[in-house]
Every structure is written in structure tokens, then in C-alpha cells.
Amino acid sequence: MRLKVNGKEVEAKEGALLLEVAPVPTLCHHPHTETRGVCRLCLVEVNGRLAPACATEVREGMEVRTDTEGLKALRRTLLEWLALTTDLSLAPGLLGLMAAYGAEPGRWKEAPSRRGRPPIRDNPFFLRDYAKCVNCRRCVDACGDGIMGVYALTLAGRGLQAHPTTPLDRPLPETPCVFCGNCVQVCPTGALRPLALEVG
């Protein structure tokens, strides 16, 4: 089928996601964990309405815009807010996007921070460093319905306080965790990382 992306006609297969034909940044979307529609970085305008490219299928005759002033402002601002609240030092992809979008977090002056969260080292395999967590849910989805079906991870809290945790907040060895490493593999910000890579 045919649709227009930023004024140019493109061809796409039925059932394809807009993500496959439209140039947009992504963060939460992961094909294996089935996480989608959460971070909103891939929002596009479809016939004038906002839609996440990671969760919207192509349709004949769609008119898609990926680069309106509003969308650029949204991505730039979201990146700024993430940088204000979260330690992105191990998220090179996001730091690259910030440079590309000219992000200046300082212009917002203040925001509550997640940087104060202490790292959790409760097992021999990997570290949970939630000061670096943007709450994209990939790890929770990987552990649950997306890949493993083990359900050793869930979410606690609401709003900016929401973050991954274990059932009953127990140390990982006391949960159904099988230390498969899928959550570590899908973490986009280095909040979950193998202890093998830690120095000292």
C-alpha cells in the first residue's frame, strides 16, 4: 500500500508499523518485549493527529509527518526532562539525540530528580541502578508476558516515582528470577548492567 511520509510517497507492506517507514527516534519500543507506546519519542502526526509510530499500522493513503515544529519541540523537551531527572551517563543513544535536537535541560530551571536512588546489588550477576532508569518497562515486559513469563519484576509507585521492583520488594534471589539476563539485554539506559562489566 502507498502512503505519504513528510510529503513523499512511500510503499509499505500491509501490517507494517509506521516505525518501519518513518524516520523517528525510539526508546521504549522493543520487538521482543512487545513494549510500545510508552515513551512517546516516536510520535508522528497522522492526518493531523498524534500517534505513536511504534504502535500504529500503515494504512492506504495515510499522510504522516515526522518533523513538525510541535513534534520537534516535544522530542527536545522530553529529552530535556529525562536529562533533568535521570542519570543518562550510560545511555549514549539518548545523549546523541539530545545533541541532535539541541536539548538545553537548564532552561526548565528545576525538576524533581530520580538520581538519588541508591543502586541495588543483591545478586552475583547484575546491578539494578534505578537512578538511571527512565521507567520504559522493557525489563518488566521481558521478564513477564514479553519473553520469559517468569514475573520476577513489576512496577511500584505512581507518577515520577514509578519504577521497577521485585514482588514484595525482595532481593532478586528470593524471587522467581532465573537470572536469564533478558532484562539486562533490553535495558536502554544502563540501569540494569552485568556486574562483569563493573570495575572494582
Binding site: A111, G159, A162
Partner: protein, 490 residues
């Protein structure tokens, strides 16, 4: 519930221990991880605040909030008490009470004073808590007509379409479109009555549930019959304990009288603003964190337990018996709408007015003098400040009506203080699922506190919040933007 649902299982086990959470998870057939996520989400499972609490609504914010706050140990979100505000609550080991007329009234006994309701049609001339009283007011005509074969799904759907009834919960979506979509879906199908009224400034659904339960039930049953729903769930804000008890009594009475044509039950809400968002509401009924779903699919296709589900607001359904009795044309001529009017007016209350009534006239009906006012907050937290007194209160106009809240503010009110309350409310109530909303509502609190008027920052805040997953984040900046407009116009 047809399937075991986690929230009622947890409620039965309060106060919770780890063992009780595990037991509820087993009985609900869900992983402990899901149950723990739920316990760590809803306030009542983490232990409610105790002591004297000030209800932090826009009226309290306008009445010298910091002084009122000094008299309390904490605050509580708006509770549909704006016409009586400021109000203090008492949460103790013995239960939840409201300080009213020098007494501590338990939640299960407190109803909005009946005298606050002014109108006839949707509002009854006298309270109608029993079937006999409802019958005396001429009620049950719709269900009787159904029983007598005078009504069928086609007739109900046609009447709703011809009337052009729009959803009264705030989104103003055409009711017949949703009803037809569910009617065409495969059974089993459900009707969920959204009675989780939590938009600050609104108390219309609360009033209807407390004083006119049979009207709500009759409307719900007619809708359920029209779309072929096999069950009706009333998702009621859990703090409305008196309303819940009244509804449960009314359901029993209807059943005994042989008019409960569809099995009907009450579901106690999760107790958060976001639970009123229809997909978050369904998630909470399914025993999950009340987080909005990605749409599509819409609930009319995949709703409760994945089945076609009609989710409708209380007031929308309450219009059905009226609309069927009077006929769509007559109903449409004076299309009734409930307006919750509070703040700086002489007679705050619930006013039934025809859609299209100018804002100034609505205020005068409540004993308000528009010229003496600085502005009103129209709609609620997800609303706008305005001083356009000629504005017709109708859907599809220049400003959104929301669910019909009008909070009036006199000339000496610090509207920034009111806005700070709204900003705080959004930050507290953001579920945290998508990125723009929890980040943006937190940033917004700081901006409002420092009285930020930089247009480029506000523009980017708006552009980003607009990208939120659901209406909560998408509307969180409306009041802020509109206050700057009102200031500019002053």
C-alpha cells in the same frame, strides 16, 4: 464479578500483610508480581493517611489555603464537596468521617444535602432512595415499556441517535456511536457505568447516585438491554460509601420487583483520578494497575476481559429514561445538563440547565454576580479559566465544558494559588505509564510555583504534555495556559 478480580480480594483482606497479598494473588490467579504492583499503586493498600485532613479542592485553594492547611495534618484529593468547601475529613482507626455541622459523619452516612440540587427532569423534586418513591415520581416507565414489548434495541438506539445525546463525562462523544458498536459486537458483552467522578469541581454524578439511584439504574439497564450486555457493573468511586450502599439496596429492590433484567453489581473503584479514564478503569477491574491502554482497540471492541464493553458516564445514562419518555425531539429542545456551581456565588449547588445557557446566566442562577468575579474555572482541573460571561455552555464551542463544573472566583482570589492546587493534583494523580505526563506534571508544579510566564516554556510544556498517552496528561496544561490568557485580557 464473573471472573475473580484482585481488587475486591485485596479489599477483603485489609489491612494487608505479605501473606494476605500472596493469598489474594493465588485466588485471583495472577502472579505475585502483578499483585505487588497493584498494592504498590493504589493508595488504600499502602495505608491511608490518618488524622484531620483538608479536602484540597479549588474552592479551598481560593479561601486562604495555607491558613486552612494549618488546621489539618494532611490533605485529601477533591471529593465532590466543592459546594460545601472548605471541608475537613477525619481518618481514624474507626473509619472515615466528614466534619459536618459540628459532627463527625461517617462516609457511609454522608450524602450531599438534597437542597443543593436545583432542577427537575434529571434531578428529582424530592429524594428517591426507594422504588416506591421512584414510582411515585413516575419512574420505571422505560423498563415497563421494555417488559411490555413496546421497546426494543432498535428503538432505543434510534432514539439515542435522534436525540444526539453526547457523553456527559467530559469527552462529549456521541453515545449512539458507542452503543451501536457494542450492539454489533459478539457476546459476552458488558456495560460499565463510569461512576468514578473525581474531576475537581464536579459533584453531579455523586448527587445523582446519592439521591436518584433508580434513575441511574433504569438508564443503565435500558442501555444494557439495547446493546445486549450480559452484565452491568457500576464502577463507583469508593469514597462514595453512602451512594454504594444505596445502589446496592436499589439493585436488590429492582430484583425483587422483577425489573433487574440484566445482572447488576457495584465495583468499588481503585480510588484515584486516573480510574475515571475508561481504559484505566477497565484495567483496575481486571486487577491491574489503573494505567490507560493504548487505543485502538477501543473498549467497544476490546474492553473488560477483552470483550466488547460500553463504558458510559452516570449522567449520560440517567438521560435515557427521560429521553425515551419525552421522545428525542422534545428532549432535545431543552437538552438538560447538570452544572456543578461552586466558589464565590451566593447559592453553590447543582443546577440543571438547558445546554446553551450563557455562562453569566448560569452564575446568576446560583446567586453569582459575573461583574464581581475575576474568572471561573470551567470543567475542572482538566478545564480552563475564563471570564467570557456570554459563552454559551454547549458542547463543541470555543471552550471545553468538561463534565460541567463551574468554580467561581471573586476579585480578591489569588488564581495562581488555585492553579498551584491543580498542578499539584495532576502531579499526584499521574499514573506514570507514559513519559510526558509524569515528567511534565512534575515540571509544571515548579513552573507554577515560581509564577513562570515565559511563553516559549509554556508552549513547549503544552506541546509535550499533548503527546501523553491519555487525557490526564493531554489536558494537564489547559488551566495554566488559560490563566495566562485571562491575565493578558484583564
Amino acid at each position: 464479578m464473573e471472573q475473580p478480580s484482585l481488587l475486591p480480594l485485596l479489599d477483603e483482606r485489609l489491612p494487608l500483610t505479605e501473606e494476605k497479598v500472596a493469598e489474594a494473588a493465588r485466588l485471583a490467579g495472577v502472579p505475585l508480581a502483578q499483585a505487588w504492583g497493584v498494592v504498590a499503586y493504589y493508595p488504600r493498600y499502602r495505608g491511608l493517611p490518618q488524622g484531620r485532613l483538608l479536602v484540597d479542592d479549588p474552592v479551598a485553594r481560593a479561601r486562604g489555603f495555607s491558613r486552612l492547611r494549618e488546621e489539618a495534618e494532611g490533605t485529601y484529593p477533591p471529593l465532590g464537596l466543592e459546594a460545601l468547601s472548605p471541608v475537613y475529613l477525619r481518618f481514624t482507626e474507626k473509619g472515615r468521617f466528614l466534619e459536618w455541622e459540628g459532627r463527625w459523619v461517617p462516609f457511609r452516612e454522608f450524602r450531599l444535602p438534597f437542597a443543593l440540587g436545583r432542577g427537575h427532569g434529571l434531578l428529582p423534586p424530592e429524594p428517591a432512595p426507594t422504588l416506591a418513591q421512584y414510582l411515585a415520581l413516575g419512574g420505571l416507565g422505560g423498563l415497563r415499556a421494555w417488559k411490555g414489548g413496546l421497546l426494543d434495541p432498535g428503538k432505543v438506539l434510534k432514539a439515542v441517535e435522534e436525540a444526539g445525546l453526547l457523553g456527559r463525562g467530559g469527552a462529549a462523544f456521541p453515545t449512539h456511536v458507542k452503543m451501536r458498536a457494542v450492539a454489533q459486537g459478539q457476546a459476552p458483552k458488558y456495560l460499565v457505568v463510569n461512576a468514578d467522578e473525581s474531576e475537581p469541581g464536579n459533584f453531579k454524578d455523586r448527587f445523582l447516585l446519592e439521591h436518584h439511584p433508580f434513575l441511574v439504574l433504569e438508564g443503565a439497564l435500558l442501555a444494557a438491554l439495547a446493546v445486549g450486555a450480559s452484565r452491568v457493573y457500576l464502577y463507583v468511586r469508593e469514597e462514595f460509601e453512602a451512594a454504594i450502599l444505596g445502589l446496592e439496596r436499589a439493585i436488590r429492590e429492582l430484583e425483587e420487583a422483577g425489573f433487574l433484567f440484566v445482572p447488576t453489581e457495584v465495583f468499588r473503584s481503585g480510588g484515584l483520578y486516573i480510574c475515571g479514564e475508561e481504559t484505566a478503569l477497565l484495567e483496575s477491574m481486571e486487577g491491574k494497575r489503573a494505567e490507560p491502554r493504548l487505543k485502538p482497540p477501543f473498549p467497544v471492541e476490546r474492553g473488560l476481559w477483552g470483550r466488547p464493553t460500553l463504558v458510559q458516564n452516570v449522567e449520560t445514562l440517567a438521560n435515557l429514561p427521560l429521553l425515551l419518555r419525552e421522545g428525542p425531539e422534545a428532549w432535545r429542545r431543552k437538552e438538560p445538563k447538570l452544572f456543578s456551581i461552586s466558589g464565590d456565588v451566593a447559592r453553590p449547588g447543582l443546577y440543571e440547565l438547558p445546554l446553551g445557557t450563557p455562562l453569566g446566566e448560569a452564575l446568576r442562577r446560583a446567586g453569582g454576580e459575573p461583574e464581581a468575579l475575576q474568572a471561573v474555572l470551567l470543567g475542572g482541573a482538566a478545564g480552563v479559566f475564563t471570564r467570557d460571561w456570554d459563552l454559551p455552555l454547549a458542547y463543541g464551542g470555543r471552550l471545553p465544558l468538561g463534565a460541567g463544573a463551574i468554580v467561581a472566583f471573586g476579585k480578591d482570589v489569588d488564581l495562581w494559588e488555585v492553579l498551584e492546587g491543580l498542578a499539584h493534583f495532576f502531579q499526584e494523580e499521574s499514573c506514570g505509564k507514559c513519559f510526558p505526563c509524569p515528567l511534565g506534571t512534575a515540571v509544571q508544579v515548579g513552573m507554577v510555583r515560581r509564577r513562570e510566564r515565559d511563553p516559549s516554556l509554556l508552549q513547549d510544556l503544552a506541546a509535550t504534555l499533548r503527546g501523553s498517552l491519555c487525557g490526564l496528561g493531554q489536558s494537564a496544561f489547559w488551566a495554566y495556559r488559560s490563566l495566562l490568557e485571562v491575565e493578558g485580557a484583564a
